[in-house]
Amino acid sequence: MTKANVFKYENRLAKSLVTKGGMTASEAIRTATAAVEQVRQPTLNEIDATLREIYELGERLRAGADPEALRAMYAAGNRVVAMAGVFGLAELGQAAYSLCELISRLQTSERHNWRMIEVHLDGLRLLRAPDEHSPEHRQAVLAGLRQVATSIG
């Protein structure tokens, strides 16, 4: 084992720390939130397209084990995780995260369980329209999904 070379270096971002000018956190978050708002509709469209992709992959998995479909569903679920929470669909993002967790565990254990996947897809459909359900109902659905996903050791 050779010695590690350890040295100090200039942090380029350090120069952005200022005492005057620039933006405070609250100012930066306000302007960034307004900027992000400009891509709300295209992103919501993309979320719906990704959900449709997930449901179509679900049809392949209903028929039986399909590692390629499972990988594609994981990737699509991850995209929902990334997008949903930015535009007020945090619970949808959490359901997608649970789906990714489930798929990861199914892959690791080399198991196939369509019912576990199906209940997640039902959860995604429900949480895409959060206003149609009470907060208690939504939280109960999420708790159920997490329980299903983590039941695979």
Binding site: L13, L17, T19, K20, A25, T31, A35
Partner: protein
């Protein structure tokens, strides 16, 4: 500091490189940095193109995606840290990740990223992390198996059961004391040095 004591960041002259695995996420991230006042943003969907940009110009911040196929985001960070012919070997690098099990966190850390941030990337999350990165004072480590910021956030010494590989690593075994004991004020001064007055 401002009158309210809030930290301030001026990113108007910062150059930022963003790599994401799809256009929607890239657009969201780009808008976040536009909102932060960054004017020079380079956005990429393809690792190869980002790598070419990294070789050509220095960036003040790189944000890469750990969700790219086959771990390409992690590999990109490792290559940036290892490439001799690029001005970004020491650049601050954030990895952003969707599903983030412990294995992803460890892989991000071992790739040489400064930090991993869980998606969704909201303006608040990103501002907090950029502020944290701006205050980053960890040293840089280059060894046979790793290149990047020191993975030890706190000085707990070398890993258990090893002698350590750094010239300033100390043994976990404490020898017999020599010389007089330090007084409490001596100890306090080591942890909280103050400028002498008078």
């Amino acid at each position: 500091m401002s009158g309210t004591g809030e930290p301030r960041l001026n990113l108007s002259k910062a150059t930022v490189l963003l790599i994401q695995n799809n256009q929607s996420e890239l657009d969201i991230l780009g808008q976040v940095f536009i909102g932060f006042g960054v004017k020079a943003i380079r956005k990429f969907l393809l690792i190869d193109e980002a790598e070419e940009a990294v070789k050509r110009a220095p960036f003040d911040l790189i944000v890469a995606d750990s969700d790219m196929a086959d771990g390409a985001g992690f590999d990109f960070v490792s290559r940036v840290r290892r490439m001799d012919d690029n001005p970004n070997r020491l650049a601050p690098i954030l990895l952003v990740s969707g599903h983030t099990p412990p294995s992803v966190v460890l892989r991000a850390r071992d790739s040489g990223a400064n930090f991993i941030v869980a998606k969704p990337i909201t303006p608040k999350v990103m501002f907090d992390r950029v502020s944290w990165l701006a205050r980053e004072e960890r040293q840089f480590v280059v060894s046979d198996t790793y290149a990047g910021p020191d993975r030890r956030h706190k000085m707990f010494g070398p890993p258990v059961g090893t002698k350590g590989r750094r010239h300033d690593d100390l043994s976990a075994e404490v020898g017999r004391a020599v010389g007089p004991d330090l007084s409490q004020s001596d100890i306090d001064a080591m942890f909280n040095p103050k400028r002498a007055t008078g």
